[in-house]
Symmetry: C2
Subunit: 478 residues, 2 copies
C-alpha cells in the first residue's frame, strides 16, 4: 500500500542493500493489497502528468515539457527513488534510480512522457485534463506512454519498499513523439552511468484486448526522396507539352519500376535478398495474438486491402519489407486542374525493412537501381533505422511470459511490431543488454488519436506484471 | 493623323455609308503618315488601359475590370466607333462597331483586355503603369493583349475615317485569362447582333522576332482527375504498410500504364486513332517559322527535352497530342518524409489533343482504359476544349499573308499553336465564319511574365497590317 512505503528520498546507497530480502514468493505475498491500495496514488500521478500537456512537437509547449520533467522527478522521489533531470540539446531525460547495490543485477526501464498534439475540438473531454470514467482514464498521453510509465513506477515503488535485490533505473524520454533526436547523444554521454543487465520498454500495444502480446521484433525504416529536375520554372503545357520532359510523369514511372502498385511487391533486384525468413512457428504466434482482419481494418479506417487472409496480413505487417509512396511535390495541387509542367518534382518514399536488411544497404540498392535507369534522378536518403530482432525464447522471454501469465492469466503471444522504436535500437546498440518489450496498451486505447485513454485493469495487471518480472530478474543468476 | 480624324460619336448609320470610298490603293495612300502621327495617341490609350490594372483572376481587382471596360468604351467612341458594355454573369464584354452599311461585309475582331496578375517585386518598373523606354512599352497587359487590341483600333479608326466599306466590330473580352467562363453565354445571347463574314483574333505570338507567323490551328485540351480511395484517414506505414493499399503508389502505376514517361508516347489503345496526320508541307512551314530549339529551351527555362531535333520538337508542340501529369494530392508534402499512407489520393491530368480528336471521346477512352484495369478508380473529367484547325490556304489566309507581307516585308509562316484559345472555338462554333489569327506579340515580349512589354515596331507594323487586311476584306466579293 502506498502509505506503507517509507519515503526514501533520492539518496544512493553506497553498498549493497536488502541482503536479507526474501525470495520471489515473499515479494508477491502482499502484492494484491498493494495494487488495490495504489489506485488513488496512480490516478493522482497520472492526473499530474496528463495535466502537464508535454507536447514535444509544438514549441509553444516547451514550458510544459519542463514542468513534466519536474513533476516526473518529484514522483520518482516520492516513490523512493532518486531522480535527476539530464539536459540534452533538446528536451531533457528524467533518470530515476532505485539502487540495491553494485553486485545486484540492474534493469533499465524506458518510457516517454512527451505526448502527441491534441485538438480539443476532436475530444469529448479536455485532452490535457485527466477524466476518470469508471475504470477508464481519458486524456492525452494516458496510454502513450504515461500510464505504462506510472504502472512501472508503482511496481518499482513496491519493489524498492521490499528492498528487492535489483537495481531499477528509469529513463523517461521527452522527445519520443518527434523521433528521439537527442536520445542517442544522451545515451552516449551518460553511458558510464547506464550500465545495465537488461532493458525493459513499455510502449507497445497488444494486438487484441484479451490476448497479451510481447513484441520481440521491430521493422526498420529507410526514408528517401527522388527528385527529377528538367527546368527552372513552371511552364504551360500548351507551350511546351510534347517535347518538354515532365518530372511528375517520370517519377510516377520510377515508382512503378520499383514496386508493383497492386501487390506491393518490391521490384528492385536484390531488395529482399537479406530478408530472414519467418518461421511457421512465429507466424502461428502472430495469428494467435488475436489478430483479426476486420478489427485491423476498422481500427485504421481501411476499406480495402491488398490481401485479406489474416496470416498473410500479419506476415506483411510484422515480417515483410515495404516500398511506400508518401507524397509528391511539384506541379499544381489546388482545386481543379492547371496545365503546368513543373520544372522539378520530388517523390517522398520509404522502405520498411526487416531482419537482416540494413538501411544503408537497402538505400544503395534502390538508389543504384533508379540512377542506372535515370541518370539525372537525384536520390537522397533522409533517415534510416535498422530493424530489431530480440529473442522470443530464452531467459528474459521466459521471465516476461511468466510475468504476463501471472498478471493477466494468459501466456502472451510473441509478435513483432511493424513500426520502429528508435530508442530500442539505441539502447540495443549502446547498452548491449537484452531488450524486452512489455506493453500494456490496447488497440482500443487510441494511440495518437482523440479521446486517448488507459484503464485501471491494464494498470493493475501491469503493476503485478512488472513486480513479478522484477522478482524474476532479481532471482536470475547473473 | 489622329487629329485629322473627325470625331464620329457612337451613332449607327441606318443605311450604307462610304459608297464613294476609294479602292485599296487609295486607302493605303496616307497610311504611313497616319501611322507616324498615331504614336502619341496609341501610347496614351495604352497608358490608360495598362493603368487600369484589370486582373481578372483577383476579385480585389473587380473595380479595375469595370474601369477597364469604361476606358475601352471611351477609346472606341473617341476613335469614331460606337461602344456598348454588355454585362455577363461575370465580367462584361465591350462591343465596338464601325458600321459601313448592311450590304457591306463585316469583320469581327477579338481581343481581351483583362490581364494576368503581376508581382511588383519581380518587375523592374511598376507593372500597372506604362513605362515607355525608347520603342518599348513596359507594363502588364502591354503585349497580352492590350497593345494588339489598340493597334487594331488605330487601324479601324483610320478605316472608319476613310469610310472603308467594311463593317468592323470589336469584341473585347475581360475574362480571357481565367478561361473565358462567360464568353460562350455572351455569344449565344448576342448572336442576332454578331453576324459576321469573318473573324480576326489578335492574341498570338510569332515564333521568332524576324519572321511573322499566322496560326491556323490550336490544340484542344481535356483535363481530368483520377482518384483512388482505400480508407478514411491517414495511417502510419509502421502499422499498416504491407497489407494496406497505397493510393499514391496505385496512381503512379496508372500514370505509367497510360504514358511512357521517357518518350511521352500515350499508351492508351486507340488514343491517337483520330489524329489527322500533319503534312510534310505543314512541317516545313513550322520549321521555317524561325523556330529554334535553344531559343525555345531558354524561353521556357527548360534544361532537357525528350527530343532535340527542331522538326520533331515543333511537330510535337503544334500537331501531337500529349498525356501530362500536373500534380498529385494526398499524403505528406512538407519537409522531409513522413511515413503516412493516405486514405485517398488524386492525380491531376490532361491531354492536349489535335485534329480530329474530341475531348469527350478522348476522355472516354482514357477513363475506360483506367477503370477496366482499376475498377475502383474514380476518373472524372474537369473541362474540355476541342482542337481548332482553320484554313492555311484560301482567300482569308491569302489576304492575311499579303497584309503581313505589306506591313513587315516578309510573308508569314503558317503555323499551329500548342495551346487553346477558348474564344476562337466559341466564335468558330456560333459565328460560323472563318477565323484568322493575326498575332503581333514576339517571344521576347514576355507573355504572362514579369516585365511584359510591347513595342512600337510591332504596333506600327500592326496598324499597317490591319489596315491592309481591312482593305482586302472590303474589296473581297461576298
Amino acid at each position: 500500500m502506498p502509505d506503507d512505503i517509507p519515503a526514501r528520498g533520492g539518496s544512493h546507497a553506497p553498498g549493497d542493500r536488502n541482503v536479507a530480502a526474501a525470495g520471489p514468493d515473499a515479494l508477491l505475498a502482499g502484492l494484491d493489497d498493494y495494487v488495490a491500495a495504489s489506485r488513488p496514488e496512480f490516478e493522482r500521478r497520472l492526473r499530474e502528468l496528463v495535466g502537464a500537456a508535454g507536447v514535444s512537437a509544438d514549441p509553444a509547449h516547451a514550458p510544459d515539457i519542463v514542468r513534466t520533467a519536474e513533476l516526473a522527478a518529484g514522483q520518482l522521489r516520492e516513490a523512493g527513488l532518486s531522480a535527476r533531470i539530464v539536459p540534452t540539446a533538446g528536451n531533457p531525460v528524467v533518470v530515476g534510480e532505485y539502487l540495491a547495490g553494485p553486485s545486484r543485477p540492474t534493469v533499465t526501464i524506458y518510457n516517454h512522457l512527451d505526448v502527441q498534439p491534441a485538438d480539443p475540438a476532436e475530444w469529448v473531454t479536455e485532452p490535457f485534463q485527466l477524466t476518470v470514467d469508471g475504470d477508464r482514464y481519458v486524456g492525452r498521453g494516458s496510454t502513450d506512454d504515461k500510464g505504462p510509465a506510472l504502472t512501472a513506477l508503482q511496481a518499482a515503488q513496491y519493489a524498492a519498499a521490499r528492498e528487492l535485490p535489483l537495481n531499477i533505473r528509469f529513463l523517461w524520454e521527452l522527445e519520443e513523439e518527434i523521433g528521439s533526436p537527442n536520445f542517442e547523444a544522451f545515451v552516449r554521454a551518460e553511458l558510464p552511468r547506464l550500465a545495465t543487465d537488461s532493458v525493459l520498454v513499455s510502449d507497445t500495444i497488444w494486438i487484441a484486448a484479451d490476448r497479451p502480446a510481447i513484441d520481440y521484433g521491430l521493422r526498420g525504416l529507410v526514408t528517401f526522396e527522388v527528385t527529377i529536375e528538367t527546368g527552372t520554372a513552371d511552364t504551360h503545357s500548351g507551350l511546351t507539352g510534347g517535347p518538354a520532359r515532365n518530372p511528375l510523369t517520370e517519377l510516377a514511372g520510377i515508382v512503378a519500376e520499383c514496386v508493383d502498385p497492386a501487390t506491393g511487391k518490391v521490384l528492385v533486384p536484390g531488395f529482399a535478398d537479406a530478408v530472414a525468413p519467418v518461421s511457421a512457428d512465429e507466424l502461428d504466434d502472430f495469428v494467435a495474438s488475436g489478430f483479426d482482419v476486420d478489427v485491423f481494418m476498422a481500427a485504421h479506417g481501411l476499406t480495402a486491402l491488398r490481401v485479406t487472409d489474416a496470416r498473410e496480413v500479419v506476415r506483411r505487417i510484422m515480417a515483410e519489407p515495404t516500398f511506400e509512396v508518401h507524397g509528391f511535390t511539384g506541379g499544381y495541387t489546388g482545386p481543379g486542374v492547371k496545365t503546368v509542367v513543373p520544372p522539378r518534382a520530388t517523390v517522398k518514399l520509404s522502405a520498411r525493412i526487416v531482419p537482416h536488411q540494413q538501411p544503408a544497404e537497402v538505400f544503395a540498392l534502390v538508389r543504384d537501381f533508379i540512377t542506372t535507369r535515370h541518370p539525372d534522378a537525384r536520390v537522397e536518403m533522409e533517415a534510416g533505422l535498422p530493424p530489431y530482432l530480440g529473442p522470443r525464447t530464452g531467459p528474459h522471454a521466459e521471465l516476461a511470459a511468466n510475468a504476463v501469465d501471472f498478471a493477466f492469466g494468459r501466456r502472451p503471444a510473441f509478435v513483432r511490431e511493424g513500426g520502429s522504436i528508435g530508442a530500442v535500437l539505441t539502447m540495443d546498440q549502446y547498452l548491449k543488454a537484452p531488450v524486452t518489450l512489455l506493453g500494456l496498451s490496447l488497440p482500443s486505447h487510441g494511440y495518437h488519436a482523440p479521446n486517448e485513454h488507459f484503464d485501471w485493469t491494464q494498470a493493475a495487471g501491469g503493476i503485478r506484471m512488472f513486480t513479478h518480472y522484477f522478482g524474476g530478474l532479481a532471482a536470475q543468476p547473473r
